[in-house]
Symmetry: C2
């Protein structure tokens, strides 16, 4: 148009698949780290690495789909990269592992700007570099309509130190890190606001868009050898406590007064007209840890985490017998049955 210069945005259709692979490879070499042990990286049929003697390998996989796991207009590509990688780092940490190698599979649109994909990888790198972990391979394809980001993350744990969901025993205490429910409240804030409203600096929206993981804390807990079960709260607090109970053949009794409901969560819940305990218990998208251990080792686990991190660790209940189900003790002394209703894809 007269008087204006056309702004040309370079898209994937302009540079093609192999052009994009080259650009990603350059970015990773410039801004990423090379994980010790890697023997062959991006650009071959497969990547390769030499595992360390004395370590088991742990593997997890999480996909993030546009419109389903994130709101495309409300998150930057950099934060989307951080978020997608953090979910996987959280899973590795939840079994006590240290992240090492990421395999990134993307479904993208031809009109996606190259700069957006580069920002996505910068987000991956921002989460991986602190662990000296790296992207060693992946796949790129055109997707039907929405973008998908599918990450497989490989980590290591000293042999025999992996913590599963299945070892909780009646009498164990139940601990939780941080303040669950904040990310769920952040999502509700976004869903209940006008799409033109910029909430990106709201602390709970930040918690939703770029959740913390507790992978370092999980690794430290695994090394103590005292935890009987551990899980991250990706399916909602009750959903995930339910997974521990089911896999361990146990029940649980929570004490409502002890649940660490943050002041900010209470405030936002009031603004939204929602029950803060519902946000804490039912909704998803926090990546805190639930840990069970014998009461005699509670202090050691709390001390281990407080020695390395400012994240609070709160005792919130006890593991019970399976026949007692999943219940919550209310302030008036009554017990309420909790219905396991975590995040479930496909459910009607």
């Amino acid at each position: 148009m007269a008087g204006r210069e056309a702004i040309v945005v370079e898209t994937l259709a302009d540079i093609g698949e192999f052009g994009l692979i080259a650009r990603i490879d350059e970015l990773l070499q410039r801004e990423g780290l090379r994980t010790p042990g890697m023997t062959m990286g991006i650009g071959d049929d497969a990547a390769s690495f030499l595992p360390r003697a004395g370590y088991e390998l742990v593997v997890t996989c999480d996909a993030v789909v546009e419109g389903r796991h994130y709101l495309p207009d409300r998150i930057s590509f950099f934060d989307l990269g951080r978020r997608s990688m953090a979910l996987n780092i959280s899973d590795i940490g939840a079994v006590g592992g240290k992240p090492l190698y990421a395999i990134v599979s993307l479904g993208l649109k031809g009109e996606t700007p190259v700069a957006d994909v580069e920002d996505l990888y910068r987000g991956f790198v921002a989460e991986l570099n602190p662990f000296e972990a790296s992207v060693i391979g992946g796949n790129l394809t055109k997707s039907g309509n929405g973008i998908f980001i599918d990450i497989t993350l490989i980590g290591e744990v000293e042999t025999g130190k992996t913590i599963s969901r299945s070892g909780a025993v009646p009498g164990d205490v139940i601990l939780v890190t941080g303040y669950p429910g904040q990310a769920a409240a952040g999502l509700q804030l976004l869903l209940n606001s006008r799409s033109t409203e910029d909430l990106s600096d709201h602390p709970l929206v930040k918690v939703y868009n770029t959740p913390s993981h507790r992978a370092r804390e999980g690794q430290a807990v695994a090394r103590t050898g005292y935890a009987t079960a551990m899980i991250d709260t990706s399916d909602g607090f009750i959903g995930d406590l339910g997974h521990i109970c089911k896999e361990s053949g146990a029940g649980a009794l929570l004490m409502r007064e002890k649940l660490p409901v943050s002041e900010e969560l209470r405030k936002v819940a009031m603004e939204l007209g929602m029950d803060p305990y519902d946000l804490f218990l039912k909704d998803s998208d926090d990546y805190e840890l639930i840990i069970t251990c014998p009461p005699g080792h509670l202090n050691q686990i709390q001390d281990t985490i407080s020695a390395m991190s400012h994240v609070p660790v709160t005792e919130v209940g006890r593991v019970t017998h399976a026949s007692e189900g999943l219940k919550m003790l209310l302030p008036d002394g009554k017990q309420r049955e909790l219905v396991v209703s975590g995040w479930d894809h496909f459910s009607k």
Copy 2:
């Protein structure tokens, strides 16, 4: 309706995400094998396994997207499972590896019948069981519109025996397994037929829908230590030979008369009015191996493969200097320049 019983098809929406995970887990326990070394499987935050001393691990990832990598009305879910897994097994074999652990990430629709997903996993198992390999984890999510199947496959190679794309040296011979172009012809047959026409038993349609991989042959070649470079023909013969040339800093001269163009490919190409050499050289979806080695070791590599397999190994040309580019010697003695134009997503 009067006089008829309604046929109720159970869908993913009926059983939900955790119902589906339970069904898949049961199927894998019943019909799959447990890979030695596995220490924690499906149903935790991460799977875990103990790597073998003396082995490097190799990792690959390939996604299959509905409408893009397969024609949903022309392939069964069982064959789709086989196909998706075979592509990944091919990549592991192309670096000399043995497949061990698969991580399967699916994007599905709520209305997808559960039986179809079970058939998909039966296809995975059919390809994995011969290697004592297994599905150890993954992710399930609802996808926007089309299904995606994203597989990360982990394998092992004796330390130091991995074969990359980058070791080809001028003077090396270029070998290819099998009869490339047949799968491409099968796809063209489908695209040029009426959608009501059942071509599923046509031999070249079968090659397209459920391609062979040469993973056992690739492993055997790696063990000889004589191959300088190896790749599978997933980006088309020239595209993949181009990858070897680029990564090795070399050129290549093919001899057209030596290219193993099968009788069936010639016949179908004639029916379709296409050049069989175009189908051989340019199109994708065959999963044969291109191998380079010094001329003095040609016989050892051919003997190694013929001792274990009926797959032919044909010498088709020589590695040249990079300055000579990628060329083909025609029957009349002239040389034609070959343009690297393999399968490229996103390209306009």
